[in-house]
Assembly symmetry: C2
């Protein structure tokens, strides 16, 4: 049995102007992970007072994951990895709290405790395989922080069509300075990297990887550069078990990301799935234009669909159905 | 789409000697609802350090509900209705806290708030039908408290083969005295009844009923006399929408319970399902001998199985598989 586990959290880093597309403005964005969890569980927001569709019409990738879930019915678990707003999704508690701006000296004080609790949880889960996913606005910036502190020089993607890499690098420079760190100073100390310049979802996912691999549970990291940072976390923690990464063609085609290099550096078995989007629907068009790209395990869900032999057209039809339901709910 | 919602909680009432069979002793019993939620979600305890199988070999009814869930794949949601110990099941928060001994003056101080939050949640859920279930040790005693405070004179069942009715009545007498109430003093004030002499699961389930019916979601109360008390709660709250009750033949055959009278009093459409247990397995035998009888929505799950046309023998085979997995996990 394959279980899909979503680590949903927030950070003040996401509120830095221009960092994230995960929500139209900071007041909305803080609700996005809560809404994503609800879309995964119920197909639409329930308690979250937002509909995570960008002003241009780009839906949260939770819509894609939900669509595949409706077709395949895989079990899901949401871990509270620092939610700041209520969610109606059932959540597992591991002691994570919302992350602060990484330009503060200790933005993730719960990193060690959340890692330990998530590891115990990952050890105890009876499933054969875990797909590990994230929802955390600003997550590619905190991923860049983690990778830099670990001394890794991988690029990171963006939920925006125009990746604000200069801004991200400047934020990460400020983060390292605030923690009195140089690039590479947290080599082999991934929990320290997360505590100083990361976000709580990385601590939770790093713990889940550790616990799952200790008990011979197969692990697929379902996502883009944030999950590459989790892979880096695992390798810097000395974990040498097999790790897969399942992501979308939008990440594979992103010039900011070198997936092959990441796969080689962190010994990842990479699966890239192209959902075959065309210009027949605004949701597809926004992804073709470079928005969102990945998140909420979209690439992993698409890989599950392909593995199960679901026709891509069935997945696309269901994505439109979920999208239409979201917008209908917003108008209601 | 039919969703199964479990309200899982605890009370100090359950620790009164001789009240409940839901766990061998009070130290174990306080973990039972957390373990039940995990069995529902994962098929076995994950964080809970107990295996809810009685010394005689009687498994928690969560095993039956899980077995049906494995065959039908219906979506589930666990609401924290006053858990006292950690669970690895994802839980929805409505502000409920563990109940005190009903012989204290205000054993459920969170009753009104949890009711309101659960009502909002019930209103917002997009499902067509909800099956509402409980896991709360000592729940038939608190149900008797609620029914008595409402002025209803229904009998209550027991998870023990020998129903300690005299003990329950004496506890409820003490509860009414501690709250300075006479039978019927909370007529048409069900939240007050729960706050004074009930348990937090009743507040949560009462709120879910209210919210669901307000938005034309079909509601099936999945359980025995505790869900009859929830029906009484709804009627005393002035809710006159349609309500079904799905329970087991063990409750229907219990001389302490008059299901027909309850159905008439609270306008319930009652479905009784006989799982066809025989003496081929210790788990079945314990139920035939009068243990457990109902709980964790067992009767509702069996009704779903019957509605879906699942052969009862498939359900029984799966119950044995889940049971064997539980015991294997205990030995591991």
């Amino acid at each position: 049995m394959t279980r899909f586990v979503l680590a949903a959290g927030t950070t003040a880093t996401a509120t830095i102007d221009g960092i994230s597309a995960a929500g139209a403005d900071p007041d909305v964005m803080v609700h996005t992970p809560s809404a994503d969890a609800e879309i995964l569980e119920y197909g639409q927001p329930v308690r979250a007072p937002v509909t995570p569709v960008s002003p241009s019409g780009c839906p949260t990738p939770a819509v894609v994951t939900r669509a595949v879930r409706e077709l395949l019915g895989f079990p899901t678990t949401v871990v509270d990895a620092g939610l700041a707003e209520p969610t109606a999704a059932g959540t597992v508690t591991v002691g994570a709290t919302p992350g602060d701006d990484i330009r503060e000296s200790e933005p993730v004080p719960t990193a060690h405790g959340a890692w330990a609790a998530a590891r115990q949880f990952g050890r105890a889960l009876p499933d054969d395989e875990l797909l590990l996913a994230e929802s955390v606005p600003g997550g590619t910036t905190t991923a860049l922080g983690i990778l830099t502190a670990l001394g890794e020089t991988r690029g990171v993607s963006s939920s925006l069509a125009e990746n604000p890499l200069d801004l991200k690098e400047s934020v990460v420079d400020g983060a390292l300075a605030a923690s009195d760190l140089n690039p590479g100073d947290c080599r082999d100390q991934p929990k320290r990297a997360v505590r100083r310049v990361g976000d709580p979802t990385a601590a939770v996912l790093g713990g889940l990887v550790a616990g799952a691999l200790e008990t011979d549970t197969a692990v697929t990291l379902a996502g883009g550069t944030q999950l590459v940072a989790v892979a880096a976390f695992a390798r810097h923690a000395g974990i040498d078990g097999g790790l897969s990464l399942a992501t979308t063609s939008f990440i594979a085609d992103d010039p900011s990301v070198d997936l092959d290099a990441a796969a080689a550096a962190f010994d990842l078995d990479v699966t890239v799935t192209d959902p075959g989007f065309d210009r027949s629907h605004v949701a597809f068009e926004r992804y073709l234009d470079g928005e969102a790209k990945e998140g909420v395990g979209m690439g992993g869900a698409l890989a599950l669909a392909e593995r199960a032999g679901l026709p891509a057209s069935d997945v696309r039809d269901r994505i439109i159905a979920v999208y239409d339901r979201l917008l209908a709910g917003e108008q209601a």
